[in-house]
């Protein structure tokens, strides 16, 4: 059986005083030594090639007047015409702004919530309370958006539990699940219920990696609970916070689809239209065609790439690791 990790043959030390020159191994030699690793990597490369790189190559149709019924190279090249049509569409910019609004809200109001939940969980000593709390908080992550939205409508909808209770007391019917003005709050509540617990798990894992002797040392030095959190816990999980933050910024224009699509009729398109629903309604079930949708997707990808590179750069400037270790 081949070894998993090969080593270069030991250099013979005939004359310890002679300067040895490390010979660079040829491609064939490297192939001979590393082939088990390459074989191991092959399925992943194949998977990426088939499901990622090949589909990504099709982004080129954003620059064509593409029809699936023509031979590929017979599709006329139209330059940036689809992008021009995209930017001229009066509903593109509102969809983009909505997307940025939800992304910013997610970042500002949900991300810290996950960190806070993790810190609270970390400070709970009782294992029983901790595991119960953990289950309650992160289980909704496994619910589909259909279920989440349905639960919210059943509880907070115009004909829901709370609304009927208020009406029984002589009040007015609730319009919370159909009010565009308060949709951001509703969306945040849905994220908080569904996603905050899951985000917490990752931070909990990071918290577990902090050396407990640091806390003991801090306590011996007289640091109270707050001081220990500020000087030990938060610096301990800072690399993870930064990493997740960068990844979130990279996907800032992908705020999700189902949550907005499911509530689009009830709330109205103006408050709920994000880039993904825009593409869906204009291109997938609309009649603008595949090239238009691809152009919108490519735009989203380009913005995401720029943001992730910028955020990574900032992280490196601040002395953090970012998404990769700066060489």
């Amino acid at each position: 059986m081949a070894t998993m990790q090969s080593e270069a043959p030991p250099l013979t030390a005939r004359n310890p005083d002679a300067r040895t020159v490390k010979r660079k191994r040829s491609f064939a030699q490297r192939l001979r030594f590393d082939w088990p690793l390459l074989v191991l990597a092959l399925p992943v490369v194949a998977q990426l090639a088939v499901f990622f790189y090949w589909p990504s190559a099709w982004n080129v149709i954003a620059f064509m007047d593409y029809s699936p019924h023509r031979p590929f190279w017979d599709n006329p090249i139209v330059g940036f015409a689809w992008f021009e049509r995209l930017f001229a569409d009066p509903y593109f910019v509102p969809a983009l702004l909505n997307t940025l609004k939800f992304a910013a809200a997610h970042l500002l109001f949900l991300f810290p919530l996950s960190v806070a939940l993790a810190l609270v969980m970390h400070s709970v000593v009782s294992t029983k309370v901790r595991s119960t709390f953990q289950s309650i908080v992160y289980l909704p992550y496994f619910f589909s958006w259909v279920l989440v939205v349905t639960v919210f409508v059943q509880v907070l909808g115009a004909d829901g539990l709370v609304s009927n209770w208020i009406m029984g007391l002589g009040g007015d019917r609730l319009s919370f699940t159909s009010n565009p003005d308060t949709f951001l709050l509703l969306a945040w509540m849905q994220w908080a219920w569904k996603d905050a617990g899951w985000g917490m798990i990752i931070f909990l894992a990071a918290l577990a990696s902090i050396n407990p002797s640091l806390y003991e040392a801090a306590a011996v030095d007289g640091a109270n609970r707050w001081r220990r959190m500020w000087h030990v816990t938060l610096p301990g999980i800072r690399p993870v916070i930064i990493l997740l933050l960068i990844l979130q910024i990279g996907g800032i224009l992908s705020v999700g689809f189902e949550q907005y699509q499911l509530q689009r009729n009830a709330i109205g398109y103006q408050a709920t239209e994000v880039l993904d629903t825009y593409v869906y309604y204009r291109s997938v079930i609309g009649t603008e065609g595949a090239s238009f949708g691809t152009a919108a997707g490519l735009f989203k990808g380009a913005i995401g790439l720029i943001l992730i590179l910028a955020a990574n750069k900032v992280a490196h400037r601040l002395g953090e690791q970012g998404i990769y270790q700066k060489s």
């Binding site: 019924h69 009406m167 019917r173 159909s178 009830a266 079930i285 609309g286 009649t287 065609g289």
Partner: protein
């Protein structure tokens, strides 16, 4: 990023930005520019040979807008005495609403034996999303050997003409001329049905027109109506409304938001007709202005939205109506809502539910209504219901075998073939009642009464009103009473695919109407949404439709 690479990136960006208008200006997007197709005057269609009906209808109407009807069940006769022998196995994609029946059911085995042995397995897809997803299946050539598309589904497709001529089997050479020898029932389909199944390979060249689809039944008449629980209305002492104003009063009298009673579930697609907004794709000729105008440019559009908003503000409409997912039919059965916008098929379903004890009372369609003393108008859809398209990869022999089956499926009411197709096997799927009329068993209700199956594979020689005799009589009378209000299409004889920009603008206009109707935007924004529509595809559509209108009226 090093400073040099930053400059490099900025330079590339600047070049890109500068080149953008140039590149765009050089382009000429053909996708989504719209197309038209004449649907009459062809010399390559199957020659019409009347197929004599086995039984004369009890009530004779004026088809297609006023179909004849049967109030009794005639002894079925055999339409095809010698069925051809087929042995192929095929797969068809069809839409389905509800729970799809299993392909293994004895109903499908009986059909297979009935038409000569050809096996057609159904790939039954959710009817609610079928129109949209069919676009992707067709692009990927993943729909089996055939696909059923209803004519209303074409609106979801971009460049459907291109899809048709590239994806589907060209039936012209097989079906041209006299086909009454092998396929007498297909020869008995109205010539209009075949003419509406034609697409041109090159839209600019009328000579390139070819026959691509097997047409479903040719039908007409009112395709929808506002149905009311007349028993509840009588109990509440409300008279049947005959005008919009009376409808509003009836709704006010009935609704009681605090106690969970509302007049309407949703009224979005039935209401425009009541306000006279029945343009073809929104467009109609205005004699005074001497041009085509869109429904949204008419003062009645504002009236219609005011009515919708009033219903919302006064809580005459269910508070969850904006979700668009209310089951109006179920709520009407429960008595939660009084009026429901429905297809006339609902009349038969409701009556069957009452007979089964699953519902109480009865429903009736409202007569055509209008506001401010105007004369009501009605839109009738006078066309084939849809088409079955066969895959271009099939061989000629396979297509002929499938046409044998289509011929069998075209047998009209009063034949044994029709009985097997519509009711299944006696004793298993249906039983005859005392009057000799087939009544579904529980199994039959689940499997055969299903909305689509293979019933739309090929059109019936003639469409009749059939079913519960009382409902048949009532619908026949209703159809007779509304004929005077039917307004013919301004674009008769031509199939139009609107430019993509116009379709997108229309979708946005619809979203904005909902915003106003459900209190999310003010009524004062109506001129703005109309202007937005016009600027973003409306004017382009006006030009496009005007050209078509002029070409039709100059002939």
């Amino acid at each position: 990023m090093r400073r040099r690479s930053l400059f490099k990136a900025a330079g590339l960006g600047a070049i890109g930005a500068a080149g953008l208008p140039f590149a765009a200006a050089c382009s000429d997007l053909k996708t989504g520019e719209g197309s038209t197709q004449t649907t009459e005057g062809f010399d390559f269609l199957p020659e019409y040979k009347e197929w004599p009906l086995p039984a004369e209808p009890d009530l004779v109407g004026d088809p297609p807008n006023h179909p004849s009807a049967f109030t009794s069940y005639p002894d079925p006769v055999e339409a095809i005495s010698e069925v051809p022998s087929g042995s192929g196995t095929y797969e068809f994609t069809v839409p389905f609403w509800g729970e799809a029946p299993s392909n293994d059911d004895s109903y499908f085995a009986a059909l297979r034996d009935g038409w000569g042995g050809t096996t057609i397995n159904l790939r039954q897809a959710d009817g609610n999303t079928y129109a949209d997803t069919s676009v992707q299946w067709l692009n990927a050539n993943e729909y089996g050997d055939g696909i059923l598309l209803f004519s209303w589904m074409l609106g979801s497709h971009t460049n459907f003409q291109e899809t048709v001529v590239n994806s589907f089997y060209d039936l012209t050479d097989i079906l041209k001329g006299d086909i009454s020898g092998r396929w007498p029932l297909l020869a008995g389909l109205p010539t209009q049905s075949w003419a509406q199944s034609v697409w041109s390979k090159d839209p600019a060249d009328p000579e390139s027109a070819r026959l691509f689809g097997i047409p479903s039944t040719f039908s007409g008449g009112p395709g929808n109506a506002m149905f009311v629980r007349d028993d509840l209305m009588d109990d509440a002492g409300i008279a049947m409304p005959t005008t919009i104003e009376e409808l509003l009063e009836a709704a006010r009298t009935w609704s009681d938001d605090a106690n969970g009673k509302w007049a309407f579930g949703s009224i979005d697609w039935i209401l425009p007709q009541m306000f006279g907004l029945i343009g073809d794709d929104g467009w109609s000729w205005d004699e005074k202005q001497g041009k085509l105008v869109n429904d949204c440019e008419k003062p009645e559009f504002t009236e219609m939205l005011e009515f919708r908003r009033l219903c919302w503000d006064e809580k005459l409409i269910h508070p969850d109506a904006p979700t668009g997912t209310l089951d109006g039919g179920a709520m009407q059965i429960a008595g939660t809502i009084l009026f429901s916008q429905e297809n006339p098929v609902r009349w038969y379903e409701y009556t069957a539910l009452v007979k089964d004890g699953a519902a109480t009372g009865s429903i009736k369609p409202l007569p055509p209504l209008a506001a401010k003393g105007r004369t009501p108008v009605l839109k009738a859809s006078t066309s084939v219901d849809g088409w079955t398209f066969l895959n271009k990869d099939l061989s000629k022999e396979q297509v002929e075998e499938l046409l044998d089956v289509a011929n069998w499926c075209s047998a009209p009411f009063g034949t044994k073939e029709y009985e097997l197709m519509e009711y299944g096997v006696e004793g298993d799927h249906f039983e005859y009642d005392a009057t000799g009329t087939p009544i579904y068993t529980e199994h039959g209700t689940k499997i055969v009464q299903a909305p689509v199956n293979l019933k739309q594979y090929s059109g019936k020689v003639q469409k009749f009103l059939t079913g519960d005799p009382e409902v048949v009589q009532a619908q026949f009378d209703y159809n007779a009473s509304v004929q005077q209000y039917i307004v013919p299409s301004a674009f008769e004889g031509v199939r139009i695919e609107a430019p993509a920009a116009a379709k997108s603008a229309a979708q946005t206009l619809s979203d904005q109407q909902n915003d106003i109707a459900y209190g999310r935007a003010e009524l004062s924004t109506i001129p703005d949404i109309v202007a937005t529509f016009m600027e973003n595809g409306g004017e382009e559509a006006r030009e496009f439709y005007t050209d078509v209108y002029k070409s039709l009226n100059e002939k």
